[in-house]
Amino acid sequence: MELLVASAIGTMTACGIYLILRRTTFPVIVGLAMLSYAVNVFIFASGRLALAMPPIYDPATKGYTDPLTQALVLTAIVISFGMTAVIVMMALGAFLEHGSDRIDTDDDAPEDGA
């Protein structure tokens, strides 16, 4: 299981990084979203994995998963949601003002300038 989670996190991170290295806003935004998925799962996993052990207090339960990391992830999700909303609107605004959705502002640079 750990291997699956770790590989999933890794894949999402890689994809996110690749997308934020694109030169138009939309992929970059999607990439940032991917990164926040990755990091959310990362935080969650950093509390170790537990199957069928709800973080609900119950005298009869056999054990718990780490509720703290879950709380942290919740906070992180909410914050990244707010951030994503802002950057989406900002990108839209920049596009409307400028007419191009290039995220790089080195406009005189060659189209394929890496």
Binding site: L68, S80, A94, T105
Partner: protein, 504 residues
């Protein structure tokens, strides 16, 4: 005993921000009056806390009455108090300037965002909890996004997108770092982490070091440390003048966080990390200073020049932080105070100039502008402040830093610092003589109209006065600061204060 007052710097702005949004969002005058009142209040409270911190050991505020490390705590010590006061002071001045120039009327919600910005800053200084530090970083960041694009405009928006994107990566990195540290130590309270690291199993060292470095990199982004400084020039150059001036404190938040964590959690005495942080920080700081200085000489607009001066000052600051010695930290703190006020002064002056030149601060000679003589003098003052020339505090700061970096590597550090000041002087001299002197060759078709803006001038002069006072009272100030750094390097008091109730 400050009791509930400790959390006032967070609660006051957030309530004021809320009220402004709730009841005053349609009336600018109301916003101005209450917002300024709130900032004045914040300054007063911070002053009281500053005094209290100097008379008592670190004081802890247990939020929700949960004992540390299980709940979140606020810790008031000298460092936190200094940062609070500096921020409140700068905020008040910038606010007056924004009102005086009418900047706050060029978009919506300036004052609300301003208050939330202050909330975020105060929260970041006061918190004793690593994850809570992240939360308040986000608060101050998102408010800063709003302020940065205040007034809109093509260039500003595009720069804004980049600013946000870069900082979002920073926030993600922050979470990676926190999760790593938590999953090794099983705690989030900074004092608790610090204590646990002393008995950390050797096998965990490697992973913890990764967490530590990632955390420091987050702060390095905030502190514009090369090679993570790229976001700064465009952001500061395109942000509204007063906002850029306020941002003079934003980079310092990064410096604060490095000092806090570097002295509390990862001091060189920590077995797992050792001198890891210092080894990475020192060279980066030198490069930052060099790059900033070259930028000052190479900048094409006054605004960008000011931005690069800010980068250079961060370099100097981190040079003093890097050795993690009380003496170095004292120098760093003095330079922090100086470069915050000096940087803000430079940005405000540049804004006044650009405003009179039709928001054009490119380095070319245009016909003389209103109050040219006065502005030239102010620019001269700001420039020598940032270049670290006497008689303004920058020179003292520079001497303190050099004095604190004696020993191995001294030759390299001193050479860098001195060459950097040289290049900076060159840059400012060229810019100043082009913008303020060469313009006398050209004659304006119509004599420039004189501008009033009394509040704006008051703000600028207040900053200058701050620098002068910092110079004259360098002795007493440095006394407080060295007391601060000794408090920082004697972690025991802090840790025991925080974990006093751990037994419950």
């Amino acid at each position: 005993m400050m009791g509930h007052w400790i959390i006032a710097p967070v609660v006051l702005p957030v309530i004021m921000g809320g009220l402004i949004v709730l009841a005053m969002r349609h009336d600018l005058l109301l916003q101005r009056v209450f917002s300024v009142a709130a900032t004045v209040g914040l300054l007063a409270i911070s002053g009281a806390l500053l005094y209290a911190a100097s008379t008592e050991p670190p004081e802890v505020y247990f939020l929700g009455d949960w004992p540390a490390p299980f709940g979140i705590v606020l810790v008031l010590d000298r460092l936190a108090a200094i940062m609070l006061t500096l921020t409140a002071l700068l905020a008040l001045i910038v606010q007056l300037y924004a009102i005086g120039t009418g900047w706050d009327a060029r978009g919506r919600h300036f004052h609300a965002l301003f208050q939330f910005q202050l909330m975020g800053l105060s929260g970041a200084y006061l918190t004793g909890d690593a994850f809570n530090l992240f939360v308040f970083f986000e608060v101050l960041l998102i408010a800063s996004y709003g302020l940065m694009i205040h007034g809109g405009g093509k260039a500003r928006l595009r720069a804004g997108v980049q600013y946000i994107a870069f900082n979002l990566v920073g926030s993600t990195l922050f979470l990676f770092a926190l999760a790593t540290i938590y999953s090794v130590t099983g705690t989030l309270n900074m004092a608790d982490i610090a204590q646990k690291l002393l008995t950390l199993p050797e096998g965990d060292a490697a992973l913890l070091r990764v967490g530590a470095v990632l955390l420091m990199l987050v702060f390095a982004i905030k502190g514009a440390l090369v090679p993570l400084q790229f976001w700064l020039p465009a952001t500061y150059a395109f942000a509204p003048g007063p906002v850029a001036a306020l941002f003079a404190i934003m980079t310092k938040v990064g410096a604060y966080a490095v000092i806090r964590t570097g002295t509390l959690i990862f001091p060189p005495t920590t077995p797992a990390t050792g001198t890891l942080i210092a080894d990475l920080l020192a060279p980066a700081a030198l490069v930052t200073l060099a790059l900033g200085a070259i930028g000052v000489l190479g900048a094409t607009t006054l605004a960008r020049q000011a931005a690069f001066a800010a980068i250079a000052s961060m370099g100097t600051l981190f040079i003093a932080v890097a050795p993690f010695t009380p003496q170095g930290t004292t120098a760093a703190l003095y330079y922090l105070l100086h470069s915050t006020l000096g940087g803000a002064l430079l940005f405000l002056v540049v804004d006044l100039v650009a405003d009179r030149r039709g928001s054009d601060s490119t380095l070319k000679a245009l016909p003389p502008i209103a109050n040219q003589g006065l502005l030239a003098a102010l620019f001269f003052a700001a420039a020598i402040a940032m270049a670290g020339m006497p008689p303004i505090s920058g020179f003292l700061g520079k001497l303190l830093v050099m004095d604190a970096t004696r020993g191995p590597g001294m030759a390299l550090i001193w050479t860098t610092i001195l060459l950097a000041s040289f290049v900076t002087i060159l840059g400012f001299a060229r810019a100043g003589s082009t913008v303020f002197w060469k313009s006398h060759e050209t004659q304006p078709e119509d004599p420039p109209r004189h501008m009033g803006e009394p509040l704006a001038w008051t703000a600028v002069c207040a900053l200058l006065a701050g620098l002068v006072l910092l110079t004259i009272f360098a002795g007493p100030v440095t006394d407080y600061l060295s007391a601060t750094s000794f408090e920082l390097y004697d972690r025991a008091a802090y840790i025991s204060a925080v974990l006093a109730r751990a037994g419950e």
